[in-house]
Structure formats: structure tokens, C-alpha cells
């Protein structure tokens, strides 16, 4: 009798199929994203709670006169030169960086499609346009470059804010703004490193349909970071 276990085991060698049919990593990345939602929810809530509660400027949407501590949506008349602080947030510039990040999600979708369909040459249609769409290296690189471009915008934004008189220590707005967007930027940085790693693997041995999952989970992460930015852009920048 005791050998029956052994005999059966030979027919069951290898890994049993997963319960859902999905790869473990796919489930785990969704659990991770759920957890990350609470992380950003805490950061965004704190920003919103502290909105309008800073004792001193500069402020996100208002002019601030340091000598009188007056705030206004319009330029404050009679404020001594050098004491007037402009609204900090630069919506036109951030709209551009938002566009760059959204385009990176498009490039990510194309990268995933290119990897998934590696074994079907010509799937994207004839001509050089089709060949372009079929290049996973191109789209992985494009996603990483667009992500890095977003980070450059953020570096520019942070630097100019500091020059305009807002640091992480200045007031509640500065503390909660830099921490929130800084955390998001850190997530983008990790994403860029992840994409560059995938690119390196693609260059070294070529990514194909059997690697779809590797690209898929990085894409889920990347799109999540993008969605979080849409929330931040709306709640922090657009809504006064």
C-alpha cells in the first residue's frame, strides 16, 4: 500500500496547475497594488486635510504677501517688492509632464503587445510602420524615456519651487506636497529601473511570448503609477 503514494507521485511530478490558472506573480502584483492604494490614499488625504491650513505661504493657488500675511487669488496691490510670492503650482508645465506620463502608458501597451506577438511576424501590418510596432525594444525604451522625462519635469518643478521660496520645511503645503509627489516620483523611478532591466533582458536574449507575464506585471505597476498621477494632478493641481 505504501508504495501507491510513490507510484501516483510519478504521474503527478512537476508543478500542479494553479487554482485560478493565473501565474502567482499576477495575483501578487494585484495584492501589491491594493496595498499601494492605501499608501497613496493616506498621502493624498493628508494633503487634502492640510489644504488651506498653512500658517504662512507660499500657497498652491494664491498670491501671498509675506509682510502682511495677506492671500489673494489676484496679485496683491501694495505689497512691497520681494515680499510678494506667486502661486506655486505651474499648471501649464505640469499638464505637459502629465501628457508625457500618459503617453508612456501608451508606449507600455505597445511594448506588451510587441512581446506577446513576437512569434507572429507581420502581425502589426506591412511596411516600416508595422515593423516599428513590432519592436519591443523600441517601446520598452520609449516607456522608460517618457518615464524619465516625467522625472525631469518633476526635478525642474521641485527646483523652481525651492527658488520661489517653497521647501519641504516651509509650511504644511510644502511638507505634504513634496512628500506626496516625492513618493510618486520614487515609484516612477522604480518603474523606470524595472523597464530598463526588461530592456536589458530583451537586448541580451530577446523577450518573446513566454515572457509576456514579466512585461505584463511591470505594465500593471506602470499603469497604476500613472493612474495615481491622474488622481494627484486632478486633486492637487486642477482643483483649487
Amino acid at each position: 500500500m505504501s508504495t501507491s503514494a510513490v507510484a501516483h507521485a510519478h504521474s503527478h511530478a512537476g508543478h500542479p496547475p494553479t487554482t485560478t490558472g493565473l501565474d502567482h506573480r499576477k495575483i501578487a502584483i494585484w495584492a501589491f497594488i491594493g496595498s499601494e492604494c492605501m499608501l497613496f490614499a493616506s498621502l493624498i488625504s493628508t494633503y487634502l486635510i492640510y489644504k488651506g491650513r498653512s500658517k504662512v505661504g507660499p500657497f498652491p493657488h494664491e498670491y501671498w504677501c509675506q509682510t502682511t500675511n495677506a492671500t489673494s487669488l489676484d496679485r496683491i496691490a501694495g505689497c512691497p517688492a520681494g515680499s510678494l510670492f506667486k502661486p506655486i503650482l505651474n499648471i501649464p508645465v505640469t499638464s505637459q509632464s502629465t501628457f508625457v506620463l500618459l503617453m508612456s502608458s501608451l508606449a507600455m501597451v505597445l511594448a506588451l503587445a510587441a512581446v506577446e506577438n513576437k512569434d507572429k511576424p507581420g502581425w502589426a501590418g506591412p511596411g516600416w510602420g508595422g515593423r516599428l510596432l513590432e519592436s519591443s525594444k523600441l517601446w520598452l525604451l520609449a516607456t522608460a524615456i517618457l518615464g524619465a522625462g516625467f522625472l525631469c519635469f518633476q526635478a525642474y518643478e521641485f527646483t523652481s519651487f525651492v527658488h520661489e521660496g517653497l521647501t519641504i520645511k516651509t509650511n504644511l503645503f510644502g511638507s505634504s506636497f513634496f512628500t506626496l509627489t516625492g513618493f510618486h516620483g520614487a515609484h516612477v523611478t522604480v518603474g523606470v529601473l524595472w523597464l530598463l532591466t526588461l530592456l536589458a533582458i530583451d537586448i541580451k536574449r530577446g523577450l518573446g511570448p513566454r515572457d509576456t507575464l514579466l512585461v505584463d506585471i511591470s505594465a500593471l505597476y506602470w499603469h497604476f503609477v500613472d493612474v495615481v498621477w491622474i488622481a494627484i494632478f486632478t486633486l492637487v493641481y486642477l482643483i483649487r
Binding site: S4, H12, A13, T20, M38, S175, T197
Partner: protein, 669 residues
Amino acid sequence: MATTATAPAYAGAEVHAESGLWSWLTTVDHKRIAALYLGTSLFWFLAGGLEAAIIRLQLALPNGHIVSAEKYNELFTMHGTTMIFLVVMPLSAAFFNLLIPLQIGARDVAFPRLNAFSYWVYLFGSIFMNVSWFVGSAPDGGWFGYTPLTTLAYSKNLNIDFWVLGLQILGVSSLAAGFNFITTIVNMRAPGMYFMRMPIFTWMAFIVQFLIVLAFPVITIALVFLQFDRFFGTTFYEIAQGGDPLLWQHLFWIFGHPEVYILILPAFGLVSEILPTFSRKPLFGYPVMVYSGMLIAFLGFGVWAHHMFAVGMGPIADTVFGVTTMLIAIPTGVKIFNWIFTMWGGVLRFTTAMKFAITLVALFTIGGISGVMHASPPADLQQTDTYFIVAHFHYVLVAGSMMGLFAGVYYYFPKFTGRLLDERLGNWHFWLFFIGVNLTFFPMHFSGLYGMPRRIYRYDAGQGWESFNLMSSIGMAIQIIATLIGFYNFWRSRRNGEIAGNDPWGAPTLEWSIPSPPPDYNFARVPTVTSRYPLWDVKSPALTADIPHSRAGEERVDIDVAGHHAGKVNRAIGNPPGGPVGAGVATFGSPISPVPPRRFPTARELGIPMPNPSIKPLFAALFMTLMLASLIAIHKDKLQLAVVLVVLFAAALTASLYGWLLTPLEDEH
């Protein structure tokens, strides 16, 4: 039912292909990681108990002078932090690790190396937290770390920095384990192991992982704010800058209240396994037990502000949180009654595990009822910050969680070691602990209602508190004796206990169908499950006649029991083969008949792919801990040093992560 009588004894030395220090450092086997969690958390239980002992020594008589006020603050802070984060959570994790794969019929967790990483992060984080004692500044802001007391203005030394960074490190461990266990339970259940057939412990573990992954990010952010305030001069908790004094409290308790259920639900799960086994009855109302667990977890996210009634949130907020808090008593009460009905009319066996389990049911109820008392804001205003609260949460955490976890240790010790704990010593352990716990914590209800505040390091005579405090301290002495007996039992029995065999208790779930301790691959053949109680289907079918089975009870089981394959027992409900009702009962309690150790086939012989041992998770955990720990240099005004160290360790962490992720888990096959 001769299957258990021939249960092969399993020689400990042959369980693991290799032994020795290196094999423990590189292990990715969930059972060995479980044993590491068990040993480490029991060690910290002694440390946390020592801290409590000094506290009780100080308070035994009025005007105690054992320790200074500063030292006393450190002691109660580290006692709470240790017991919660270094004892109850990792002790629960020991059972998650051991039992989740065994109960669902899996060969390991979904990510074995991540599992090892979680353990090493826990170990290094716990060491870092306690190093603070040796540099003379242990955390002293309470386990809740209220701001602004913990901001730089009121706490200039390193105490709080150790606490903040230590909790961040430990949070990484819990989160990584959470993702791992969620994936394991969703994706690695054996064929037929539907969600509503999962053992109740696995269910509670599943719920707890959701609490962890949703609650820990919130305290991560709360701690980041505090860390930034202390290190970089941000203004999150600076009242003068307009900071809200309640922001920390809200964020902390949005984490802190789910944390309470993170601490108790694993113990509930263990008790729900133990009571049916020793009552010889299926769990009463299994689906309701599952749903009430979910409801407790769900409501647990909506009650946090009942920790803050005294701060003046206004009548509407107080009322809402009072009502939601009382609502939680309903699913919890349902569980209490279901446990009682499980035992009702059962064939009760009062083993040590059973006694600890019944004690949880009885004593947790006391803590639960005092909890409903201060769910009412007006009552809470009288009780808050007094020893009444201390009595309440020690009844739920010591008389609840710890009783349940000790029950689990006694019940599952064979699956850790292959041997049974000594029942005679266990009896002493149990009764002394039971008496000690009640003598310590019951009088605190009275000292609290007589007005004794929490967290005071000495008190004057003549306020009516002396006798209650003396009783509490004597109770603590009895707890210490009980714990020493219990730990001697653990230490002795792991080598010298009776050989347990596969299924010493006559239990119903899959983990008892395989040897104790299980071979590294757990199941030679992945079982097919057709009911909630697969082993009782084989051994005592009469017990499970009323339990839903596949195909209206025709096809009962397809598993290996004690090396014997029991499959396709075709029969109708109510017509059990193999003799009259109760035939299975005859064997329980007596299957301990050691036969000479027999060699079991290795994974390689069976063709089962096993993950390779790896040192990389340990290195990744070490570098991550060092990276976060070196932030402490910032406080010493050594910003450059901190930057250099952080960059250095971050690079080392990245390198070890790349090494880890680019190495396949298994050999090509």
C-alpha cells in the same frame, strides 16, 4: 480503521536533506521558516515578559523605586511594542507559514524566497529595535507613539528614531508575507479545495492578510511623516505651523484598530481547529464563522476613532464610532456561541491544547464585554487612560490571543517537531498561566475604576489601589513560573517528546494526513478534496455525514492517509461503510504506537521540483535593514555619513535583489 495504528514514525534527521547552520540560513522551506518564526517570537516573549515583570515589580507596592520614570516609560513602550510586533504577529506568522500550505494541500508558499526574506527582515528589525536598550535610549513614547510627544521638540534623543525605523523595517516583513500568503491561498489550493471547504484557520489567515496589506501602508505613511518631521524639519505634526494634533491619532488608529484583529483572528482560527477535533464534532456553523470573520475585518476599518473619544471629536463622530464599535460585538458574539455549540454534546477530551482553547473562549468574552462597555463614549470618558483599559486589552490579547496561540503550540507541536509536548508539564503550564493571568489582570478592572491612571511609574499609598496592585504583581510572578514550565516543556519535548505519528489527535484536516514533521515536499501526491473534513471522511465517516460533499456525497475522498491511499470511497450519506457509527472514534487518542523510523522517498526520487536554498533573501533583508537603520545617523547631525551609508546599502540591496530575481527558483527540469 487501522490506518492510524500503522502511522509510520518519522525520523527527524531524515526530514531535511541537510542540516546545520548554513541550511537554516539558506532555507526556503515554509516549515523551517515557521520553526524560525516560532523560536524567535518565543524568545521575544521572554524579553517582553521580563519588561512586564519589572513594571509589576515597580508597581507592587506604593512609591516603588526599582526604576526611574524615564526607564519606566521605556519599559512599558517596549513591552507593548515587543508583545504586539515581535511576539503575537510573528507567532501567528509561524502558524501561517506552517499551516497554510499544509491545510490547502500545497507543497510550499507561492514565493518561497520572499517568505525567507520576510523572516530575516523580522529578525533583523527586532534586533535593531532592541539594540536601543544597549545604546541607552529605548523607545519611550508608548506603543502608539502619540505626537506631539514623539516630535523632536519633546523627544530629542534617539529613542523615537529607533521606534520609527524599527516599525518601518518590521512593516516590510509583514507586507511581503501578506502578498505571499494571499497569493498562496488564492492560487495554490489542491483540486476540490474550494473556498468554502478551506480549513477555518486558513480562512482567518486569509482575512488577516487583507487586513495587513490594507492597514500597514497607513502606518507606514504616518511614520514617514514623523520621520520626516524629526529628520528633515517638515511640519506635519507641528502644532505651531497649523499641524493637526489629531492627524497622527487618526492615521495610527486607522492602522491600529485593524491591527487588533490582525492579532486576534489567527488565534480564533487556531481555536476553531482545536475545538472540533477535541469535541469530535464538525465546527458548528462553518459558513457563519467565515462570514463573521470577514465582517469583523470589514467593520474593523470603521471603528478606529473609538480610541479617541476623549479628544473631543463632537457628539456625532462619537456616536457613529460608538455604534459601529458595538456592531462588531455581533459577529464576535456569533463566534463565541458557535464555539460553545461546537462543544455542546461533543465527546470532549481535555488535552492541554483544548484547555487553552476553551480558556480563550471564556476569557476573551470578558475582554469583549469590557470592550462593549467603553464603546459607549460616556462610559469611556470614565474609563479611558485608567487601568480598566489595561485590564480590557490584556484580557483580549493575553487571555485571548496568547491563550489561542499557546493552544496552537500544544496542538501543532508535532507538525513542527514530530513529537508531542508533555501533557503533565502542559497541565502545570496551563493552570498556572490561567491563574496568573486572571490574578494579574482581573484586579486591574478595579484599580482602574478606583481611578488609577495608566502609565504612571509610581503611586502614593492611601488611594485604595494597594491591594489590587499587589494582587496583579503576585499574578505576574505566577505567570513567570507558568511560562518557565511551558518553555522547559517546549525545549525538552522538541527532542525527547513522545513520537507523534501523522495524526495524534484524530483531527479532520489535510495537514494530519502526512507525516509529522512533513517531508520537504509535504504531499507526495497532491490530494483531491471533496469535503471540509477529508480525514474524518476516511477515518470516521459518521462524523461528517451532515457536511456537504461533492456529488451529493457519492465521491468522498481522494487522499493519502498515513502512506495509504484512500480514494473513491463510493457510498451514500447515512450508510457509512466499515462498521457502526463511532467506529472511527475507537481509534482516537491511541494512535501513538512508534514503529521503527522508515525512510521516505526524497523529492528527487519522486520527481517533485523543489526550490533551491538561497542566501540571497538573507542578504537582501540585511542590506534593507541596514539601509533604513543608517538613517539614524541623520539625527546625530551626520547627514553626509547617513547619505553615504544609505547609498552604499541601497546599492548592495539592489545588487542582492537583482541576484535573487535573476536566479531561477528551481533547477531546470
